[in-house]
């Protein structure tokens, strides 16, 4: 049954790739890639159980965190075209000098 679940999630990943390839806007693609990463975590865990080596869960934990950081980094890059800009809620006119290092 675990194997069936593994294949079901793999089918879901293939369908998500369709959305990532023909998504009309950039954000559709980022959404598809983010969801793809969540499914990758599940596949890693299930693969560990299928192969009888649940140590794969360590990699899955790491992948969860990396997936989040990657999504935020991609969004930040497409907003500011740079990784150097500090993430603030809204530009404060009093502290506008702090943005100049971007």
């Amino acid at each position: 049954m675990t194997l069936a679940a593994l294949f079901a999630i793999l089918i879901g990943m293939c369908l998500l790739l369709v959305r990532a390839l023909l998504g009309p806007t950039l954000y559709d693609r980022v959404l598809a890639v983010n969801s793809f990463g969540t499914k990758t975590v599940l596949v890693l865990g299930l693969l560990g159980f299928v192969m009888g080596r649940p140590d794969f869960l360590d990699i899955a934990i790491l992948y969860t965190l990396i997936n989040f950081v990657a999504t935020i980094a991609v969004l930040k890059f497409f907003r500011y075209r740079s990784f150097q800009v500090p993430l603030v809620r809204r530009p404060d006119p009093a502290a506008s000098g702090g943005d100049s290092n971007g």
Binding site: A8, G12, T38
Partner: protein, 126 residues
């Protein structure tokens, strides 16, 4: 009393594997349903809702099934770490996505829509 608990433990050891497998399978099917929603829905903001099925109930059920099948308590701890991280980060990253799209000026479609999703998709391309 001790015999009763021993019997309970034995029954639990027999029952938890089919139960965990069923939870994994159900969660995987929910993942596919969420993906179908991502493919069908007409615009970006509605697709985020469909993707959040995968993130909450699909991933939650698959990981709970893994926790039921775990051979050692360490695995259970790791699975619950993954559940916690996944719930926190998925909500935050979908908010970041929607906020970025809204700031960039992508307008959501408002109001009832009854046509099938595929026709809308083709209109959307630009």
């Amino acid at each position: 009393m001790a015999e009763f608990f021993a019997l309970l433990g034995n029954t639990w050891d027999v029952v938890r594997f089919p139960l965990g497998g069923a939870a994994c399978l159900l969660g995987a099917i929910l993942c596919i349903i969420g993906t179908i929603g991502v493919l069908r829905f007409p615009d970006f903001y509605t697709r985020v809702h469909a993707a959040s099925i995968t993130d909450t109930s699909g991933a939650g059920l698959v990981l709970l099934g893994m926790a039921l099948m775990a051979p050692h308590w360490i695995i259970v701890v790791k699975v619950f770490c993954i559940i916690g991280f996944l719930l926190l980060t998925c909500a935050t990253s979908s908010h970041a996505l929607v906020n970025a799209a809204h700031t960039a000026g992508l307008q959501p479609k408002i109001g009832p829509m009854a046509r099938s999703g595929h026709e809308e998709d083709e209109e959307d391309e630009h």
